[in-house]
Symmetry: C2
Subunit: 113 residues, 2 copies
């Protein structure tokens, strides 16, 4: 198991975990791009969005629910936030384990660099 996010999910690598349930884990990004920058990942190893089978898309719906809940608990639900999933090389995906960025707490500009 050489996937860093699988190892975080397994508790083998420390992370600032702020939410967990049977399907997903959420922890603060180690290199935050804003006052709130949380990663939400499934416990199951799915390499990327492009490899998500349609029958598992409900999982992404749940990840969005968790993002919305965390936006409320982090106090950014009213001010605003951004949810981003990068897929593959040109998408800028850094870790090959499906993940959703939840970012807010400051004015965000362009989403596509």
């Amino acid at each position: 198991m050489d996937c860093i996010f699988c190892r975080i999910a397994a508790g083998e690598i420390p992370a600032d975990v702020i939410y967990t349930d049977e399907e997903v884990i959420a922890f603060r990004d180690i290199n935050p791009q804003a006052p709130v920058h949380v990663l939400i990942i499934p416990g199951e190893h799915i390499a990327s969005l492009a490899e998500l089978p349609e029958e598992k898309s409900v999982l992404v719906g749940h990840m969005v629910d968790v993002a919305n809940r965390l936006a409320r608990s982090e106090g950014i639900s009213e001010s605003g936030y951004r949810v981003v999933m990068n897929c593959g090389r040109q998408g800028g995906q850094d870790v090959l384990h499906l993940h959703m960025h939840l970012v807010g707490g400051r004015q965000l500009a362009g989403s596509f660099g």
Copy 2:
């Protein structure tokens, strides 16, 4: 009905629609930020991610499925892409009707401006 995306969904305003089903409509962004820049919206008016009830999160899962399908049909599934949902003022949400950006076809840089 003064929501521009509701009017696009109703066919009252022309758009370059590339996909439609009973729940969602996808059309090319009028101001594309990359060679592929598609917006996926629900037909139902939901103002933002923060106002999405949990029982409707399956809808976002479906929007992600549509994004993945369109990434394949647009030829960017292998090269990579980004899926973004902006919520509220600091998130940079421009139209107050829930929408998902699907962007690819070039190397994308930072997601948070």
